[in-house]
């Protein structure tokens, strides 16, 4: 039995403790916004927040998430989340969209910590998130846009 605090709810799950958090989120809890892209922490598609920090759920054992608060894209809220999602829509960042849950989660985490990120800050925070459609120009612009939205 693993006890998980996810999206504000406590869940008891009958899974092996070493099961990756990603597959618990997707297959056990049916939350499909968090994506599988590589399984080895190299693409960021599976990014969720653990106590507000972005982590790769594909490479985090579910047991290691016990005692922490997990948030997936389905439940993000707050000023940074609103700004990021509004900016993403405003600039039409997405193409295929498959990486974008992870991109959005990383961007929210960045803006929650640093409300005026430079291009270098963006590179550092976002380079773990691959986008094969190469929407990077717009991801960068949307993060700057969201930072501006948060000021007002």
């Amino acid at each position: 039995m693993v006890r998980l605090l996810i999206n504000g709810e406590e869940r008891q799950l009958d899974v092996a403790p070493e099961t990756p958090l990603l597959w618990v989120i997707r297959d056990e809890l049916g939350l499909t916004g968090t994506k599988f892209g590589c399984g080895i922490a190299m693409c960021g598609a599976c990014t969720v927040h653990m106590d507000g920090f972005p982590i790769r759920s594909c490479s985090t054992a579910v047991a290691d998430a016990e005692g922490s608060e997990i948030t997936t894209i389905e439940a993000v809220n707050g000023k940074a989340a609103q700004a990021v999602q509004a900016a993403w829509e405003k600039l039409d960042v997405v193409q295929c969209g498959y990486c974008q849950s992870g991109q959005v989660m990383s961007a929210i985490a960045l803006l929650s910590e640093n409300q005026k990120p430079t291009d270098e800050d963006i590179d550092a925070a976002m380079s773990g998130n691959v986008c094969r459609c190469a929407t990077y120009v717009r991801i960068r612009a949307a993060i700057h846009e969201a930072a501006e939205m948060m000021e007002t």
Partner: protein
């Protein structure tokens, strides 16, 4: 991908189906679905004919699938999108065409994938095949979708005229509202939908004068942005059915090997594993979730028969290609008297280029969900060629065509990978479902390792180019030899795409070289290698643009000419190439010094009838680190339906191409793929991405595609810039092989 099918698709099957000749009359067909409002379809009637309203379906029937436009009483307009949305924007682009002629308000537009039905939803450039590729979605749908919109509009107008007792000519439609100024009446589409469905459809519709466009050429935001920014979009990976099982497949370690025997004792002991079954592609482990299936696969012991497999390494294959290049190949183009011209040339230059296998690595690993029952088979997948996928499901399930349904879902990228002649995802899905007796719905999921190691690569190629120059530095002779595998040989596409022994996809971009060179020959050696290969974003142009545009740059430099002027002199007969080249050069400040520390390179290339020139500005560090700082791109794709999406596709195409030329390669050692995931098949990341500026040439020509054409020029533009920075000509890709790395 699917380059050239547009020219010859009718030969795909014997009974010639209507093709996309713009002059062909199209006819509207409408039907009323009770309670669902107006349903309008446009079908091509090959022999001409009158428009007929389809027989009204039974009261409880679902909405007629024979439709492109559905106007519901809730005032939404839903467009059935016949081309898969995998990032390139078909949901938005095709809906824009409908909304334009319908005079809908953009906020009421919705999009959904059309079902697999090649008679209704075929690609008009391909004949009787439904599919997406060759950057053809907008190009083949431009008139069809506009006619669908115009037909629906006409019926709404007739309904309003009848309701208000006024003449249809006095009625106007704007932003989703139908009005009559004289009487002050107005109504929404939703309010008129039921009545409109009962109208006699118009015989023919008049399309708008482009001067009156309010959406085409303007900004229509993507219809899928919101869902995709919130994790709400459903891909095949996310689709579930009650009781669904998940399967992963152990496939042979080398291409062409076959299964000898396996021991599944340990695999079956993994909690959650329900079945271990042999399927044509290997051994499938089926479980109640992905993780158990994957653990089960790790626990398999398998013996493969490798005697029939490909055991060579990349180096051996390339060495053989080089040997082959010493022999004449099959002629793809032969203008003038090439060898005589070389014999009398004042100077001859030669260069050789090597290209590796490339993986598409779409962000969503391949996947397919199948629900097989005794008398039905439902398939959900990112279907790029529903006609092929449907055919494979029919063949493997043994059911009748009408018992098999293919449901296209959003796909997390493709870049060509989902357009396979053997329907690999669907074939595997149905095989596994059959092997477990259709006991439960089952989804086959590929891991990233399966994807990188699973073949269907952009082929390896070797190119040898020679140019003969006269004493003034003009090119008088050109010889281009290409060695590599055919993408379409032994597939159903061969009849359409291989002519006189030449696979068009191997030579496109080389045999269409636009430069005015009087004596020009291109020949091809098609090789036998047991590695499955496939079209990869821009297909032949991914290598031919590189070799031709890098070589032209080399020649210009050798004869002391400016690379832009030198090209322009040879492009008098190709004004669209010349125009994008000039525009990109001008916008990039070509001829003026580059910013401190940066060097520039330029390239121009046409693919899928779209013309793109790119100027790359690069910095090469002392450690060999290439930083592509900025790319200025000029594109001519005819009428620009959605300028912002054209920009997005240029940005994405440039990033995708850059990723490949900087450091992507699939290499074999003893037949085994050496890379396995994103740690050694290393995609471009945000810190590598240049600033990109896109300029669109205003044009009234028929619209052409933008999904692929942004990709080919970036390689040679960067290569030429790297030369300018370092004096080093990169003729073997990726650039990382030369001690040069992406930033």
């Amino acid at each position: 991908m699917l380059a050239g099918l547009k020219d010859s698709a009718v030969s795909l099957t014997a009974d010639a189906a209507p093709t996309a000749a713009p002059s062909r009359r199209q006819f509207l067909k409408a039907s009323a679905a009770a309670g669902a409002g107006l349903v309008i379809g446009v079908t091509l009637l090959p022999g001409g004919g009158k428009i007929a309203r389809a027989a009204a379906p039974a009261a409880a029937a679902p909405v007629d699938p024979n439709a492109f436009v559905r106007i519901a009483p809730d005032n939404t307009v839903t467009v059935a999108i016949k081309h898969i949305e995998f990032g390139q924007g078909t949901y938005t682009g095709l809906s824009t065409l409908v909304a334009e002629e319908l005079d809908a308000d953009w906020s009421q537009m919705r999009a959904e994938h059309a079902p697999a039905d090649a008679t209704l939803y075929n690609n008009l450039h391909w004949g009787p095949v439904q599919g997406t590729g060759g950057s053809s979605s907008i190009a083949n749908s431009y008139m069809q979708m506009r006619q669908a919109g115009a037909g629906a509009r006409a019926m709404l107008v007739m309904a309003a005229a009848e309701a208000w007792g006024v003449s249809p000519e006095e009625i106007t439609v704007a932003k989703g509202v139908v009005s009559h100024a004289g009487s002050g009446q107005s109504a929404t589409f939703g309010e008129l939908a039921e009545r409109a469905a009962a109208m006699e459809p118009p015989g023919e519709v008049t399309l708008k004068d482009p001067a009156d466009f309010t959406l085409i050429g303007k900004h229509a935001p993507r219809l899928d942005s919101r869902a995709k920014s919130r994790g709400e979009a459903i891909y095949t990976m996310d689709k579930t059915l009650p009781g669904m099982l998940t399967a992963v497949i152990a496939r042979p370690p080398i291409f062409g090997a076959t299964l000898k025997s396996f021991d599944d004792t340990a695999a079956r002991a993994v909690p959650g594993v329900t079945d271990v079954v042999a399927v044509p592609r290997g051994v499938a482990v089926v479980a109640n979730g992905f993780w158990a299936a994957s653990q089960g696969r790790d626990a398999l012991t398998i013996e493969w028969d490798e005697s029939t497999g490909e055991t060579r390494g990349s180096a051996e294959i390339m060495a053989e290609y080089k040997r082959l290049a010493d022999q004449p190949g099959t002629v793809a183009r032969n203008d003038g008297a090439v060898e005589e011209a070389f014999a009398s040339a004042a100077r001859v230059l030669e260069a050789e280029y090597e290209f590796p296998f490339l993986s598409h690595a779409p962000m969503e690993p391949l996947d397919c969900l199948v629900d097989l029952k005794a008398d039905s088979c439902d398939v959900w997948t990112g279907s790029q060629i529903p006609t092929v996928d449907h055919g494979a499901a029919v063949a493997i399930s043994g059911l009748k065509p009408e018992q098999v349904r293919v449901h296209t879902l959003l796909a997390g990228g493709s870049f060509g990978r989902r357009a396979t002649a053997n329907a690999d995802m669907v074939s595997e899905g149905v095989s596994v479902a059959k092997a477990i007796g259709g006991r439960a719905p089952v989804k086959v999921v590929w891991t990233r390792e399966d994807d990188i190691q699973g073949g269907s690569y952009r082929p390896m190629y070797f190119h040898r180019l020679r140019a003969g120059l006269d004493e003034n530095g003009n090119i008088v002779a050109w010889h281009h030899r290409i060695v590599g595998q055919s993408i379409v040989r032994d597939t159903p596409f061969a009849a359409a795409l291989i002519q006189n022994g030449i696979d068009k996809t191997s030579v496109e971009g080389a045999n269409t070289l636009p430069y005015a060179i009087p004596n020009l020959a291109v020949d091809l050696h098609t090789t036998d290698v047991k590695v499955p290969v496939l079209w990869w974003r821009a297909v032949g142009s991914t290598h031919t643009a590189y070799s031709t545009e890098a070589f032209i740059d080399e020649i210009a430099e050798a004869v002391g000419r400016d690379p832009v002027e030198y090209r322009l002199e040879m492009l008098a007969e190709h004004p669209r190439h010349a125009a994008v080249l000039k525009l990109a050069a001008e916008k990039a400040g070509w001829g003026e010094p580059a910013p401190a520390g940066r060097a520039r390179g330029i390239a121009v290339h046409e693919s899928f009838n779209s013309y793109v020139a790119e100027v790359a500005e690069v910095t090469v560090g002392d450690d060999g680190e290439i930083k592509v700082d900025k790319v200025v791109c000029a594109v001519d794709c005819g009428v620009a339906v959605n300028p912002d999406q054209i920009k997005a596709q240029m940005e994405g195409g440039i990033g995708y191409g850059l990723s490949a030329i900087l450091r992507e390669a699939v290499t074999l050692d003893g037949g085994r793929v050496e890379q396995s995931n994103f740690h050694d098949y290393t995609p471009l990341r945000i810190n590598d991405m240049p600033e990109i500026e896109v300029h669109i040439v205003p044009s009234a020509e028929a619209p052409t595609g933008v999904g692929e054409p942004g990709t080919p020029p970036i390689g040679p533009a960067v290569a030429n810039a790297v030369y300018s920075a370092t004096g080093q000509r990169i003729r073997q890709l990726p650039m990382s092989l030369h001690g040069l790395t992406g930033a």
